[in-house]
């Protein structure tokens, strides 16, 4: 491990912030979804870094579970987006506010 762990954590923090900014700023549901994936990946990098720092493989096992959940989430989420698109012909999240009341 020639690179200090803090560099990996910093990269992870910046990637997470980029993902959060994407969720906050973009209005296309697809891009918001990709930004969520970006955040998940940033957290994965943190987990792998700490697994290496502590010399324990448990962090990598957790990353495996995050991968599983992310895959299931993407499948269901994209199905919902396709359904919304079929019904309303838009993926702009500002136009889909049925729960706003």
């Amino acid at each position: 491990m020639s690179v200090p762990a803090a560099y990996y954590l910093g990269l992870s923090a910046v990637l997470f912030a980029l993902g959060t900014a994407g969720v906050l700023v973009r209005r296309s549901a697809l891009i918001v979804f990709m930004s969520v994936e970006l955040m998940l990946n940033a957290v994965n990098l943190t987990l792998v870094t700490f697994a290496r720092v502590h010399g324990a493989v448990d962090g990598q096992v957790l990353v495996f579970f995050v991968l599983v959940v992310a895959a299931a989430e993407v499948v269901v989420g994209l199905a919902i987006i396709v359904d919304i698109f079929r019904a309303r012909e838009t993926v702009d999240i500002d136009n889909v506010d049925l729960l706003r009341g």
Binding site: L15, S28, L30, R52, A87
Partner: protein, 199 residues
């Protein structure tokens, strides 16, 4: 160190591409760049199995799914309406607050004590190592993960099929039933599944 610098620059450029590009396909490609750069980082961190899983699951399956959906939606709507739109001043303010938080976090990271890496055996992070943990201590969560995948699969199939019976209902009778779709502006224009296949 050089490799880490290259992957970090690639990951940051890809992340910026995801949130800044106006076409969804370019965002998906940016996401792909991020995922591959992170896979290289995982290799640097002695996580061979996770790196392989990252490339196979994320880059192989999830990004392809994204591209597939983008293709599907773009084919139905011609050009994506509003896909390049950004939020108003409230979103920008939130992002500025986020940047302040990020700067504070990075500052704390630089000033704080650097965690020293523990020495690891050469087999650390190989598929045997991770597999032993996965099927030993974590066997119950592993089975739960398979259940999650099954539920996700069923959910996707159920969501994808939902429009079928409704359109049949609308076809068999006449116009009044189409009102049942509620305020959908384009409810009447949605073609039946058979038509969609044909055109």
């Amino acid at each position: 160190m050089v490799l880490f610098g290259i992957t970090a620059v690639c990951a940051l450029a890809g992340g910026a591409g995801v949130i800044l590009s106006r076409r969804p396909v370019h965002s998906a490609l940016g996401l792909l760049v991020v995922l591959l750069s992170l896979a290289v980082d995982y290799l640097l961190l002695d996580a061979q199995f996770i790196a392989a899983a990252q490339v196979i699951i994320y880059a192989g399956a999830i990004v392809v799914l994204f591209v597939f959906i983008i293709m599907l939606l773009a084919a139905q709507s011609g050009e994506h309406a509003g896909a390049g739109a950004f939020a108003g001043p409230a979103g920008v303010g939130a992002v500025v607050a986020l940047c302040v938080l990020l700067a504070a976090g990075l500052l704390a990271l630089v000033r704080g004590p650097a965690p020293a890496a523990a020495p690891v055996p050469p087999a650390f992070g190989t598929i045997q190592d991770v597999g032993r943990a996965l099927f030993g201590r974590y066997v119950l969560p592993f089975e739960a993960a398979s259940l999650i995948l099954l539920v996700g699969m069923i959910g996707a199939v159920a969501l994808g099929r939902r429009l079928g019976p409704r359109t049949e209902l609308r076809e068999s009778k006449d116009a009044p039933l189409s009102l049942r779709r509620g305020p959908g502006r384009n409810g009447d224009r949605a073609p039946a599944p058979e038509e969609r296949v044909r055109t």
